[in-house]
Symmetry: C2
Subunit: 455 residues, 2 copies
């Protein structure tokens, strides 16, 4: 049992339904609110999203079938392997068994394709001709570019300025897959122009890019907007990760004691963890479930649980979430996918209900962890994923200190082959840590004045 | 049967032996010669290679067992999937079934890791402390960096200058995996200094980098040299590709009518094709077997079959091969791995015996093919691999013209995620073709004067 290198699943074993955790919470998820403070109705979202995805967004049905056409595309890279990080264990001299779910094998290089394909599919079915979206590090933008390319939809991507400048190859990738990619803030939207007027040298943020992408979509008749994380339907599509992992663990007669994912908007974390949280809610298992976030943007570890906007220009509904304020612009850390001010409502609710916790980690620790993982397991992790690795290593050390054999699962959300320039900066000693301070929090929460709170 | 997306193999089905085609040729492979023109004895290679690999190099045993320790490492990414390129078929409106063996899933991103691991293993077993090697595009250098890292060996890589300048991320990758990477020609070796004196602005070549790496190895007591292609033992290690593919085709009751690989030194081509050539030699099947090479460096399609040196400084033995002369420095085309002047003796012999043929393709056609493949199948192919794709597309068109359903197999030797700058150049219209001319041939073959010929 201890010698597995990777635990595969056959195509037949790939899940046929997504898991919706909203069906299982003991207290229901608080609803999103309109600007007037009243609960949002599905039709209020219709300018932004197609109705078939809105139905998923508000659904409380536990199992939602995966259409066969989507499954056929997912087969191109799924089921993904569950791998044992045996060489990493050896290097750490830990009694812990470390497993990781390898989402880096997707053709777009990350878990993001798991939702890009269904979102493109449902938009296509609805009649959408063009999608708009934001991207941080570029994982989401390139995944949606591929999804749209496969479904014959056009795509415009607003890429956060600091990532746009750091990662020209991500732009090429989107271009190869037929998408248009702009550096956000742009001067093409009111939201972008407003930001440029206030903060001309901004590194950009996901909150700004979201504002621009939504404005673009709602001002065009046949365009819709697509979000790569945060929303319920996005997390839903990602649950295929954890559903597969559970089957894989069952094959080798194990169940993870610790489950870890990095969390930017929350989708890869939720995708891996929620199917296990179902067992925790049901009382059949009691895993420790931890989200890894950067010390530069620690919304769950240092933020507050309240209603906040999902974007800078307040174009989204008010969402119930852990937040450090929708105007917070994190420093240009290399894990661009983790530079979001808020956390998915479903993940925020799970934390508030005590089902899970979060840990903030400095990026140099994460790069050291990523380097060790690359040397031992041979896979270059995305800087985002290296946060999960760093936390898994902390837990492995704890196992050693306590002399306990524990089974640790983390989600390797993506590879870092297009982020090698970040590794070069680390090797050159040019990477610094940033610790979000109480003063940062006080300042950044000022934008919440006058918004409703979660009582 | 026609609906397969990918045909997996279990770990148990991974081959336990490599296939040695030298056992099956009707005429034996001509031996390598020393500088005096007499056949080389194994001990003549002992300064450069460890004896356990030399034994493989000269072996005529048909099946050579794969040590269990190597198999355990190969399991990390092998067996690799055989995939059906259904979306590409649809785009081409071809009746042909197109399959590809996906070697891009290795952690180093290409087939090169298949031999990097055994070479590092056998060197470790022999007592080697440090390896030296050359690399073109960087696929081999990074694969050997990972192999050496896993086995605890030091590595110095001489990277062809034009690729070194085009691909800084390849250098970072080697650095992450603990290797040292130098731009060749360097001023650290006699061979490098001699080249710099004659051609100060040379883009470099594999022939030059090999000279430097060998000189480095033979002048250091505990170092050996490692080659990423060309030699018999390297091709042997790659046969796991074709052996797996045969099992995968057997599972779906098909046998390929056409088998295609790109050919630089010949190792990925041979790895995929040789196990099928065994059936052709045995007379049980008669597939068309084609090597794709660039018009800028078409050794098999435009060169001569004779004895030539494997490197510029003539440090290697004289090898029986198709060559366009060991001093030929091809233009800096983007498929850096195909810029080698000669072809592996085993492949050259197979062509000379009429078992296979070669086709030269211009690089713009290959980039167009690579773009179409990326759009349809979602995988960015290495510029080298796109030569195989372009030839598979020509064969698919031929199927359509002839109205014949044929089964085409090509080897996707690696992904192009670290070569996206080449795709950007293509998208920007900056890529030009070069056609090797009879005048080029006349000039470049002058270096063969006085060398023995194959009678």
């Amino acid at each position: 049992m201890h010698d597995y290198v990777r635990i595969p699943l056959t195509e037949d074993e790939m899940p046929r339904e997504w898991y919706n955790i909203a069906a299982d919470f003991s207290k229901p998820l608080p609803p999103p609110l309109g600007r007037d403070g009243s609960p949002l109705r599905p039709e209020n979202l219709a300018a932004v999203f197609p109705m078939n995805l809105i139905e998923q967004e508000v659904s409380t049905q536990r199992w939602i079938p995966i259409p066969e056409e989507i499954r056929r595309i997912l087969f191109r890279w799924r089921p993904t392997p569950l791998r044992r990080a045996g060489a990493l264990e050896k290097a750490l001299k830990t009694p812990a068994r470390i497993f990781f779910k390898d989402e880096s094998v997707s053709p777009a290089g990350s878990h993001k394709l798991n939702t890009a394909v269904p979102q493109a599919y449902y938009n296509k079915a609805f009649g959408t001709k063009r999608l708009t979206t934001e991207t941080g590090a570029g994982q989401w933008g390139s995944a949606l570019a591929l999804g749209c390319n496969w479904m014959g939809l056009a795509l415009r991507v607003y890429m956060v300025r600091c990532s746009f400048n750091q990662k020209p190859m991500r732009q090429t990738l989107m271009r190869v897959w037929g998408a248009e990619c702009l550096s956000s803030p742009t001067d093409r939207t009111q939201a972008g122009r407003a930001v440029l007027a206030r903060w001309p040298n901004t590194p950009g943020s996901l909150g700004i890019a979201i504002s621009e992408a939504i404005e673009d979509a709602v001002s065009s008749p046949d365009a819709k907007y697509s979000l790569g994380s945060v929303l319920n339907h996005v997390l839903l599509h990602q649950t295929i990760i954890g559903l597969e992992a559970k089957k894989q663990f069952a094959k080798i007669g194990l169940y993870p004691d610790v489950i870890i994912g990095c969390a930017g908007g929350g989708s890869n974390f939720a995708g891996c963890a929620f199917p296990f949280l179902a067992d925790k809610i049901a009382g059949t298992h009691n895993p420790l479930v931890l989200a890894a976030e950067p010390t530069a943007c620690p919304k769950m570890s240092r933020g507050v649980y309240t209603y906040d906007s999902g974007d800078v220009a307040m174009m989204t509904p008010l969402l119930p979430m852990y937040t450090i304020g929708h105007e917070y612009q994190p420093p240009a850390i290399h894990a661009g996918g983790l530079r979001y001010h808020g956390m998915a409502p479903l993940v925020s609710h799970a934390k508030h209900e005590g089902l899970m916790d979060s840990v903030a980690l400095p990026q140099t620790e994460c790069f050291r962890a990523g380097m060790l993982f690359a040397a031992t397991e041979g896979i270059i992790p995305a800087p985002e994923s290296s946060h999960a690795i760093a936390l898994a290593i902390r837990e492995a050390h704890r196992s050693r200190e306590e002399g306990k054999t524990r089974t640790i699962l983390f989600n390797l959300s993506g590879h870092g082959l297009l982020e090698l320039s970040s590794y070069q900066s680390f090797l050159d000693g040019k990477i610094e840590d940033y610790e979000f301070t109480p003063e940062d929090l006080r300042k950044s929460l000022a934008v919440l004045n006058g918004l409703p709170s979660l009582s």
